[in-house]
């Protein structure tokens, strides 16, 4: 034993070890720094809203608000009298969204039913990652697919369809949102308790009857919420429509010809050479703000549905 080492009492040791001042200081400082970091997400939202509002107001000093909201002609590039009526862009967006919804909702919900009610564990473990891959494909790749594969096929069947049209990108946007509807709806269906299924089976129901009459109604809020979220994604989808839908805003319900959506207009202006400070430059903010309000409303609706109508078991 080393007897000549200086003896230190435990108390002294604690006193020596505890640079409590510094430690207490960091302990107080860290949460404040983290709070600061957490506010970045709030600042981002504020940044988005203020940018859009601020530049939109500048736009409205040059273009009448009323004619913007109710105008049915969108010719910003006309040399003599440019007109800024947003309705054709809104209609273009709605065409794409409607076609995408028609494609994605039946297929998405059918996929969800199959995965949650019929598929074995092995099949589910095989299919779910593939659907995730489908969800992870970049939208520019989908745009390429729409223009170079889906459009030529459609045109060989229906020759009256133009090279740029609403159907092809609409279908492809639908394909893009299938995984979203399928996976969120499947989550909702899987969380329906098995006791309810067993009750129906005990009464002699088939799998189909259990799926349609028991599981679907019980999971309905989740399914609708997923659909609304997916529609919001379709409204905001940019690259597929920018590549394959054309750039001809029209106030009609024709889907075989070239159209333009709100997102595609923003792309058209920013890839062109409209100078900073021109009316056209500010118009992308007015269009972006309209787009933002549309998607925000859909997202809030989805949150409201899943909160308000959730069935608790």
């Amino acid at each position: 034993m080393a007897m000549n080492e200086p003896q230190i009492s435990v108390q002294e040791l604690i006193a020596k070890k505890s640079n409590r001042g510094l430690l207490a200081f960091t302990e107080k400082l860290i949460p404040k720094i983290l709070l600061l970091i957490a506010t970045v997400s709030v600042l981002t939202t504020i940044g988005i809203v203020f940018t859009l509002i601020f530049e939109t107001i500048t736009f409205f000093t040059e273009v009448n608000v009323f004619s913007f909201l109710t105008g049915t002609e969108w010719y910003p590039f006309a040399n003599s009298t440019p007109t800024y009526g947003i309705l054709p862009l809104v209609v273009g967006t709605l065409k794409i969204t409607a076609i995408a919804t028609l494609v994605a909702v039946p297929i998405g919900i059918a996929t969800a039913i199959f995965l949650s009610e019929y598929a074995s564990d092995r099949v589910r473990r095989f299919i779910k990652p593939i659907l995730e891959v489908l969800a992870g494909v970049p939208t520019i790749v989908y745009g390429f697919f729409a223009l170079t594969f889906v459009t030529p096929i459609l045109r060989s069947i229906f020759p009256e369809i133009a090279i740029f049209n609403a159907i092809s990108p609409g279908i492809v946007v639908g394909i893009m949102i299938i995984p979203m509807i399928a996976s969120l709806s499947e989550d909702a269906m899987s969380s329906v308790p098995n006791a309810m299924r067993d009750g129906a089976y005990a009464l002699g129901a088939t799998k189909l009857e259990v799926a349609i009459k028991i599981v679907l109604p019980a999971a309905l809020s989740g399914i609708i919420a997923s659909t609304v979220l997916a529609i919001s994604r379709a409204i905001g989808e940019t690259m597929i429509v920018a590549v394959a839908a054309g750039s001809t805003p029209g106030f009609d319900w024709d889907v075989t010809g070239s159209i333009q959506t709100m997102t595609a207009y923003i792309v058209q202006v920013t890839t062109g050479d409209a100078g900073y400070g021109t009316t056209i430059y500010y118009s992308i903010y007015a269009v972006g703000f309209t787009l933002f309000l549309f998607t925000l409303a859909m997202n809030m609706l989805a949150q409201f549905i899943s909160k308000r109508f959730r069935e608790e078991y």
């Binding site: 970091i37 957490a38 940044g47 988005i48 790749v141 088939t206 949150q303």
Partner: protein, 292 residues
């Protein structure tokens, strides 16, 4: 004596069972639709693009002639972009997640931050482009630079990283924290030495998946206005650049069909990058993620 009339039961259940079988087939067909589309998409792109995919494709710049076109500037730009996006978005995302899971009290402000994050996740990427154009490119005067685009992309994927990190941190059982506290550790020491090491695989997996979203994202880059034909590679984060999805967009838009094949070759490279990143994420998840 028969209590059950089997014939009557069979007659009554037959149509219901046939319906079940038919609909099962329909549901299975709907499920395979997604798989078939993915298979066609991949097959098309590989057959279209493989002709242009050569060593020269990686080492030459974009060109007016399809045969001479390459992705040298684009792929380096994308890598530089990720070098900005990865640290910025992870620092902000993990920091926010730690605050929300470990420090935040249950009050209105915390709730506001949470609602805000889920709404931010639903904002279209093109709107983030407008934010980047106004705030980073013009207001902070960063120009059309890697930094400006990287910051925009970081904000775009921030919600994904926050949510993934929150889940990873939440999965760390409270017993571990309590044991650490019982040993005399402070809250921050516990987070730094117990909670974060336990949750880092989950955080990394989520972050890599978010980054793979950023590397394929085109719309914000278009809106910011980054060029497509660039004859030099970036040398600092303040230099202008082009990125892989941007280059693909440019080739896809061209009327000459041969450029579509070049675009397909670019897509093969982009999808290859995504597959590598996803595999790394899955690998980390399977190898390091503990279940408590």
């Amino acid at each position: 004596m028969k209590y059950v009339n089997h014939e009557e039961v069979a007659a009554k259940t037959k149509t219901r069972l046939t319906k079940n079988t038919i609909l099962k087939g329909v549901f299975a067909a709907a499920t395979s639709f997604g798989l078939i589309v993915l298979a066609i998409l991949l097959y098309r792109i590989v057959t279209q693009g493989s002709e242009y995919l050569s060593f020269d494709f990686f080492t030459s710049f974009a060109s007016r002639i399809p045969e001479n076109s390459g992705i040298k500037a684009a792929i380096q730009g994308s890598i530089y972009l990720m070098l900005v996006v990865a640290p910025v978005s992870m620092f902000l995302g993990v920091g926010t997640a730690i605050y929300l899971e470990e420090y935040a009290k249950k009050n209105k402000f915390t709730n506001f931050i949470k609602v805000n994050i889920s709404n931010l996740a639903g904002v279209p990427s093109v709107v983030f482009g407008l934010l980047g154009l106004t705030i980073f490119v013009r207001f902070f005067d960063l120009g059309i630079s890697i930094l400006a685009a990287g910051l925009t992309m970081s904000l775009l994927i921030l919600p994904i990283i926050i949510v993934a990190s929150q889940e990873a941190i939440r999965a760390v059982p409270n017993e571990l924290r309590e044991a650490s506290f019982a040993m005399g550790a402070t809250r921050w020491q516990t987070i730094l030495r117990v909670v974060l090491p336990a949750s880092i695989p989950g955080i990394l997996t989520g972050s890599i998946l978010a980054l793979s979203r950023a590397i394929g994202e085109t719309a914000p880059l278009v809106v910011i206005g980054i060029p497509t034909i660039l004859m030099f590679t970036p040398d600092s984060i303040m230099s202008t650049f082009t990125a892989l999805p941007m280059q693909i967009f440019d080739w896809t838009k061209r009327p000459q069909v041969t450029f579509h094949d070049v675009a397909a070759a670019g897509i093969i490279v982009l999808m290859g990058l995504l597959i590598i990143m996803n595999s790394i994420a899955v690998f980390i998840r399977n190898k390091y993620q503990k279940r408590y």
